[in-house]
Symmetry: none
Subunit: 234 residues, 2 copies
């Protein structure tokens, strides 16, 4: 069951959305304004956020900016404004979809399904936990065996990029572009240096990585649960 955070200041619409989403099998959390929304998002770990742009306290894009750094799930924006300029602004601010009011509930649900299908198989959680260390994407904090570890900005950028894609091979070009920018796509040196530093800080045995794996010639992969080594061949 997926959890939806619905942010809207109109109590009637909020109620209608809650009922429809519950009926569709979602776990629903609501917030009437932007600050509550950000608090709820961090506390309730929703898989997806439905966000009305017309909030009393914060601008919709501010809420998006607050969610963006750590929230990996999709954000579906609701708005009364149909002007394409507004749509472009919201989508470029980090929204995944934009639906204008009044909307058809069946369509909204379908767009939610589509967003979730692509979104996160792993719930959009702010914390990634392994047997040895914990990465808190919202608080930007890493603890190894419960002890907080300091990471430099570059180390953090690299680690979060990997941790946001558990199990997926992240290409070296992809990593370099995300951390250093498009101009550094060939500096694979950087990856070697910083991966080594991360392993030294996080891995129980840096010489034999359990979590931060190298795929020679392709990229790196973060594995939450190391594969069983018993029947490994070759």
């Amino acid at each position: 069951m997926s959890r939806v955070l619905v942010v809207d200041d109109d109590p009637h619409l909020l109620r209608a959305l809650r009922i429809s989403l519950r009926a569709a099998g979602y776990d629903v959390v609501t917030a009437p304004d932007g600050t509550t929304a950000l608090r709820q998002a961090a506390a309730a770990h929703p898989d997806v956020v439905v966000l009305d742009l017309g909030l009393p306290d914060l601008d919709g894009t501010e809420v998006l900016a607050g969610l963006r750094p750590w929230f990996t799930g999709p954000v579906l924006v609701l708005s009364a404004r149909a002007d394409s300029h507004d749509k472009v602004a919201a989508l470029d601010a980090g929204a995944d979809d934009y639906v204008t009011k009044p909307f058809d509930m069946a369509e909204l649900l379908a767009r939610l399904r589509a967003a979730l299908r692509r979104g996160t198989a792993e719930p959009g959680q702010a914390q990634v936990v392994t047997d040895h260390f914990t990465v808190d994407l919202a608080a930007k904090q890493v603890t190894v065996d419960g002890v907080p570890v300091r990471l430099t900005p570059t180390e953090w950028a690299l680690l979060s990029e990997l941790v946001r894609n558990p199990g997926r091979l992240v290409g070296q070009r992809e990593l370099l572009q995300a951390v250093w920018g498009p101009a550094y796509e060939r500096e694979t040196n950087y990856l070697r240096v910083y991966l080594a530093q991360l392993r030294r800080k996080l891995e129980p045995d840096p010489a034999h990585p359990r979590y931060l794996h190298t795929e020679p010639g392709m990229g790196y992969r973060f594995l939450k649960d190391p594969p069983a080594r018993a029947s490994q061949r070759q």
Copy 2:
């Protein structure tokens, strides 16, 4: 630079889209009908597909069905029909977004950016499964009997090329060009060597391939479901 496959039967709209997308920095490939679209999608490796539903030969949902599950990128559907029932159908068939004609070009580009930002599908969304092994195209991971197997970059490039075209004969020239580049179109040695390595790593009995078949003089074919033994010779 991202590559976009645009599928539409209206030459004027196709031209307008090609110009706008080129100007926005995309590499554009086009197709006027469904069968061409499927062939182009397999050959050109687009990052995203813009798909008109009103095609002369195939229904839009058929094209979607042909694209999934091996195509990992987003599919943005264009349609003249604004009925919410159509939207729901397309979104549930695997589309990531639905834009009704006439559309605003700036909005379409923003929705494209949003779709591409989310990037490739989550692991597990684009899996090709056989009785013996699983190929996860999004995570770039292969497991044999549940055990992860390491593939070299060349092995992976070759395998994904075959797996993206299940059941279809992929020509030698096609494979060589996709993996090694146009200058190596005659080096059929490479294919023999690397196919052997793939079979050794994936096939239950490498000497008698069940999934990676050779078509002498033509090319190779990946079969998900091997034909029944009955009709087999001997």
